[in-house]
Point group: C2
Chain length 391, copies 2
């Protein structure tokens, strides 16, 4: 087990009707003027916008708003948010929406307190030293941004999709009402499920030895997510299954499932190029790439994949042929992604084999020529993984 | 699943040599003068005291100290600590030790900021509205106080042992170095293991339906604790097993294993009377009482105990006779407690059947005449549980 720090100071307020507590939580956080940030307007259709703003008004909290956050949130909206937030002297950023709204809210919160160009943080030219506090009302369990240090922003003109993390970006509070997810399109639910599974696998598939408690917590969460995802396919208003997915999405990325392990994040790096080039849903890109990454790195640690297959994916044990068991585990994961409606090949995701050179070009810009710690990879390996994902 | 708030803002710094980071963590917390609180002096024998104070000196942090915290920490030391802490104008309370030192440190931290008698908090005559920040260097994984809201103090003259919780008492940071636990006497290791298992069971044995993810996380942790406890019996310097026990002890009580469930805490209430009357080690008292409580409440929800038996204690499934399976699970837990050297009857713990009226008398003072939510209990039920624990 590696030494670790686990720090997850966010107050998670979870359950039915909890969005009505947002005013009270803002008051407790000392917010006076809130910068309210959201996505494409679905929160207005569902009435969530009205409930949230009513709660703010009830507590006498002033706010200005900026909608328009899209999946793979872009730098232009962050610049716009920073300017508006400064002009209006907001002291708290509230994201109401999915990971995209939360991620751009985090970037705005950091950018407001920085004199230079906020992209400096993503270019590693500057470190976040101050940020406005951020709060969240979550509408889509997927990115885990409601409990994480992370934000991922796309710089449109250069086609760069980059992430960074800072404890200063961890939300003060995150409100999670599973009922808000009843009306999600099946595609979005499924892409979210793939995303959270990937967040666990990026921690689980690691060379750190002997972290048995973390392993078991990861396996327990994987089993629960897959079981719940199958339930909501036929029964989208199943509260318990929705709640399981919501909470699993949060703990998949707040750090608790990574303690004691060196984390990996290679497949996320490979996927960022896919979603930047095609504006692909992040979860869909992960569904395409993760099984390919796993197969490509299988020989690096068959034992690890064997454990995953038997403890999380229900493959019967067979000590005489662990590699076949491990491969069957990867196949089951791929089958599961397909079952819930995700693409599992580049072709199914409308990505083209002939674009692989383009993907490698931006990958090199973002990650350099070498990456990965579970298996050390270079651009040639990356090409092979993209190729494997085509079939 | 019940609505819940999960809030665990403590920064957990875990691993080898981490006690050397205490000065840096105090500096980050803004501490200027530290009230250093510890137990019976074992930290001086092991050199931990020297390493901690060296780290403080290195960072230029002034401190005053008060040792003497004992298992079942007492009010007199809390009063002494409050006075010293005030006279010396300390602005941070650092506990170096086991749950006892942490619990009295928490009571001191709250008492310093309160004009009245700190026992008012435990008498429910007052609510904690302010407290000095608390930090921890943990030496014994057991109470989980390093990550919890809770403190339990014994009022000696009246023989009352009472607990309370407040988010203001959650440690700012907790340093957990598993190597510090290598030299623990086997009895203390075992009592700690019982304590953390009990913290999970107080959450798991509950009537709240459909909290499958929390259930699985609990079961994963129970399995890991029991496996690791067996390892350290023969191999006390097994780092991985010690680390598993340490981290399990923390997550068993920081709230993550209780989300979505109504928590119980009845057996803890019953045990407090045992440890108050006999100055018994808390974990030993729990080893005596928990199996009795479980047997007594089995019929309330056989399904629940069946799941526990099959998913955490390795009893084979048998859908035709779930009650026998459930009973076998309770037996296995009791056998495990015995195997690691814990008493499993009042007699083995040097408690006397003829004292039961005394236990009931203080129980009534502390808890009233009715308690429990999994099964509603009165003093007659409590008598029966104590009696069952005699055999």
């Amino acid at each position: 087990m590696e030494n670790f720090t686990f720090y997850s100071p966010t107050e998670f307020v979870f359950g039915k009707d909890t969005e009505k507590e947002v005013g009270e939580l803002l008051l407790k956080s000392g917010a006076k003027k809130v910068f309210l940030h959201y996505g494409g307007g679905s929160i207005k259709k569902t009435g969530l916008y009205d409930r949230v703003t009513a709660s703010l008004k009830e507590k006498g909290i002033d706010f200005v708003e900026l909608g328009g956050a899209k999946p793979n949130p872009v730098d232009s909206l962050v610049y716009e948010g920073i300017e508006l937030c400064r002009n209006e002297s907001c002291d708290f950023v509230l994201a109401v929406g999915a990971g995209s709204a939360i991620d751009s809210a985090k970037a705005i919160a950091a950018g407001v307190k920085y004199d230079g160009d906020f992209w400096d943080f993503f270019d590693q030219k500057a470190t976040i030293e101050d940020a406005l506090p951020v709060g969240v009302v979550l509408t889509l369990p997927a990115a885990g941004s409601e409990g994480s240090v992370a934000t991922v922003i796309t710089k449109e003109d250069e086609g760069l999709k980059r992430g960074l993390g800072s404890d200063l970006l961890r939300p003060r509070f995150s409100i999670i009402n599973p009922e808000l997810t009843y009306t999600l399109p099946p595609w979005q639910t499924a892409a979210g499920v793939v995303d959270m599974i990937s967040h666990i696998l990026e921690r689980y598939i690691s060379k750190s030895e002997d972290v048995i408690l973390t392993d078991r917590l990861c396996e327990a969460t994987l089993i629960s997510i897959m079981e719940a995802a199958r339930k909501v396919t036929n029964d989208p208003e199943n509260y318990e299954a929705r709640a399981t997915i919501c909470w699993a999405g949060t703990i998949a990325h707040n750090g608790i499932l990574g303690v004691g392990r060196r984390e990996e994040w290679t497949t996320h790096g490979l996927e960022h190029e896919l979603s930047a080039l095609y504006d692909m849903t992040h979860g869909a890109g992960l569904a395409v790439l993760f099984p390919a990454y796993m197969e490509y790195t299988l020989d690096e640690d068959v034992e690890r994949y064997y454990r995953l297959a038997t403890q999380a994916f229900g493959v019967p044990e067979n000590h005489y042929d662990k590699k076949s068991v491990a491969l069957e585990g990867i196949k089951r994961l791929k089958d599961f992604f397909r079952e819930i409606g995700m693409p599992v090949t580049m072709h199914e995701a409308n990505a083209k084999e002939e674009d692989i050179p383009k993907l490698l070009e931006t990958l090199e810009k973002n990650q350099g020529r070498k990456f990965g710690s579970f298996k050390k990879l270079n651009l040639k390996d990356a090409r092979k993984i993209y190729e494997m994902a085509c079939a």
